[in-house]
Symmetry: C2
Subunit: 575 residues, 2 copies
Amino acid sequence: VLELVEKASSLNFPLLFRFLGTICLLIGGSMAFSLPFAFPSVADRTHLPPATEFESAAASGLLASMAICFFVGAFFRFLGRGHRGGGELYQKEAMAIVGLSWVSATVLGALPYYLSGTMIAEGSPITFIEAMFESQSGFSTTGATVLTDLETPELVPHCILFWRSWTHFLGGLGIVVLFVAILGQGSAGKAMMRAEMPGPTKDGSMPRMQHTALVFAAIYVGLNMLLTFIYMFEGMSSFDALCHAFGTMATGGFSTYNRSLGGFDSPLIEYTTVLFMILAGTNFTLLYLMLLDIPRRPLTAARRLFQDVEFRTYALVIGVVTLGVVIFGLRAEDEGFGTLAKGVQNGLFQVVSVITTTGYGTADFDEWNNFGRGILLLLMFVGGCAGSTGGGMKVIRHVLFYKILRLEIERAHRPRVVRPLRVSGVAVDDPQLAHNILLYFCMVLAIFVMSWLALITFEPNSTWGVVMTDTPPEEVIEESAKAGKSGEEIVVVDHSQAGKKLLHGTLDEKLLDCASAVAATLNNIGPGLGVVGATRNYAGFSQGAKLLFVWLMMLGRVEIFSVLLLFVPSFWRRV
Amino acid sequence: VLELVEKASSLNFPLLFRFLGTICLLIGGSMAFSLPFAFPSVADRTHLPPATEFESAAASGLLASMAICFFVGAFFRFLGRGHRGGGELYQKEAMAIVGLSWVSATVLGALPYYLSGTMIAEGSPITFIEAMFESQSGFSTTGATVLTDLETPELVPHCILFWRSWTHFLGGLGIVVLFVAILGQGSAGKAMMRAEMPGPTKDGSMPRMQHTALVFAAIYVGLNMLLTFIYMFEGMSSFDALCHAFGTMATGGFSTYNRSLGGFDSPLIEYTTVLFMILAGTNFTLLYLMLLDIPRRPLTAARRLFQDVEFRTYALVIGVVTLGVVIFGLRAEDEGFGTLAKGVQNGLFQVVSVITTTGYGTADFDEWNNFGRGILLLLMFVGGCAGSTGGGMKVIRHVLFYKILRLEIERAHRPRVVRPLRVSGVAVDDPQLAHNILLYFCMVLAIFVMSWLALITFEPNSTWGVVMTDTPPEEVIEESAKAGKSGEEIVVVDHSQAGKKLLHGTLDEKLLDCASAVAATLNNIGPGLGVVGATRNYAGFSQGAKLLFVWLMMLGRVEIFSVLLLFVPSFWRRV
Ligand SMILES: [K+]
Ligand SMILES: [K+]
């Protein structure tokens, strides 16, 4: 027993390196899928002129990135050569692998941006930290971006635009879930699923875990394909359809247009996206059971869906919040709420986009009334259902949170009445569940508050809300004043230069904007309020803040614990 | 045993009524202390002309209030006549008594304002909800106010101004702690102390409880007297000195000047107040032990103070935050940060005022830079030490919260290493403590978020930020524009009327202002940011919002649980 304890509390490094090596090789290999889009004939655009010539600089950047991935992967596998396979994988190893996989993916995934000469704006080549931001944002399916102009291939080449959306696809599938499904590493799979599967899942035996992962992957790929075809049928080019299908099904939110999905101006495409965002935010196990039922017993299938307390709550929240947003939006005559039909379309789209943590934009909800802005900010913390590609805290955790608080209030005045926690009528037999849920909420709270404090302390005022723009400074000031956004200062710098830097700072809302930026990255939404609003991006933040966001997106995606542990020194030491 | 269970789960109503009756009689009796200040010779003011004639309307209002208190008290005691004393008091009864005492105190304490014809501004007599707000704010030592002008006795008579500060004195002492100390109700005392004593306290036997309550009361009254004399020595009139001593030692924050303590323009008075606010926010048991030590072993006394992990953290937070506020304030050249000396004076005062939850103002910290505003907003949730008169979440809970999260992170990667929670080097033997701390944070989070959501949903935009002012509307608009505060709208209404209503609405920051108003009432601070900033007040909110604030102040003061239970229907039923 003592030997077992010692074995468990120290790390099996060869195994770790072998895993990491394989991941690096797979990431490198998957970059090959982006290469074809360097050819002008493949990168067809819906609303933009097609490319005219082969993107040679970007293609060679991609090839160089692939070479680095293969080299690093081979080196890791060389370090892990002592491992002879089939070894036991403990909780601790699984956590280390999950955490380090994300770190490796982030760093390697940043290479194509960095080596292809991508520009965050005219005259501003991307820094490596910014490339890591974009890479992490892709893999974690956050969809926050530092790229100001997606519609100029000279700034962001087509093959890089595809790589960007492709990281959503890979992230949504979950690099490690993929591993479990394809490689099936004995008890590793179980431990990993526990670390990786979003939300609290019912524990199962190993073969069921592997089966679940396969089902997850199959449904996910199937829906991606289905949605691509639907988008093409609705008028998108194949390139745009692929990218947006990836963005929707991964609840990622990267688009290929500056106006996001609003760039298509198509209610049909928007309602299609709403439907598929809702599906992407639903527990995939539930979708699988539905798939089995629908052909034979459609009514049973629908009943099953609404018997699930999580889905019921998810649907209810979407309905109630949309109703509220539409009523307040119409009353305040907000942008996009001209008519009831338009209001429902925009309101429903934004509510679903935020609760599923997709983050697509069709209307600039930052210009909405305070109720709309406030409720969307809260909704960011709700998130999708457990076992979906959605981020955030997950609906089921909120359901449990509510039930736990209610039980505790009862317990305080009836200490002798012991009542178990029930989910969908079944008593939960895990005595640690209540504790873990409370702990999770407290962790999120602590991380949110600390990150917010760090941002308001260290983010300099002098570069707050920098926007790159072609508009002459006088017009910007005039427009801002008209919108009632005079703020503490509007300062113009560097307008003569190529970068066209313009300080568009409204420091008035810095506290709220920082809170929304933290919420939008920690919950893997993407856009937030103010300087990170739907029409703006994260380019204006300092490099340090961008690094903080990289960390928050990772924390949010792997459900906080696994990543947090990597930064505890004692994690790496023997006891 | 069965009988005991049944007895415990049903309420002993005669006992309840007898208690409540006594409380009503005591509140009525204590109103007599305000009566003398209706005489012009007693109500001397430092910076204002003394009153010239007897405040007959206010005095008769006070007398009427006293009559109502006696009548209600007698009625409750009549209902409770079946109780023959000495009965056992269970946890549930204690909670009901604590909660209902606060409700009774709030309602009865509102009578003097309402019946004396107090005006919240010229032409606007106080409503009963507003009177309850002022009363609750006094008893809960919050110090939030709806009274716009304290310096005109025709609007707020002197004897009402004294009653207002006197409720701070009563609240600070704790109506129920007073009960424990004076009446000593057998096991009642123990159960009550558990509900009433702010923060987690070490459990003791009954006689020690009673002793603690007496010590608490003695130190409190002693410090109030000492501070009154010091204030008088520093130039305050006896009336102002009494009122401000009550405001300081109760960490209440009601002043008798519109500019709060800043109205004295005296660094000496400000530094004296800083010292006594720090004392008021310190655990009174610690103060008692210090008192015993200082005459003989002053060094031991100082060492004891800093051996206490809570006091050490409290001092450290004050020091570090003050340093940050001063640096950022000087850099941004904020109001009140002209010189280093002035900056330290204003920075230290505001930091101490907020962390101790006193809420006095000398500088308008709402005009500070974003770091200053943000850190003060966070500080509102820290609060004083357990066993002090300070509100908020208490320093010790934050210390425990940090330790618990650290232990949990360790536990996640070393599940086999069990390490106990330690406070000041001693292992905590309460297995429920960690759970209770996490639960408390989650409760505060849930109440904060729900209240914020309610405010942004139901508080109408059309009356947001109403300010009563004598300034002509053109000047207000001009000033606002100069301060960069154009906001979404500045609308003027009713300026011709006596009320001089002026909409001074900057809806831009409604989300943040609402958050700060909830934080400032739930944590019993008083002033917040924006529309409830240091130079403004709660008068502009709708009556519904004021009722919400009354409830939040009560929740904050009796540490959430006791009050929450009153509103659970099953609490009142037999099982
Ligand atoms: K997203
Ligand atoms: K206060």
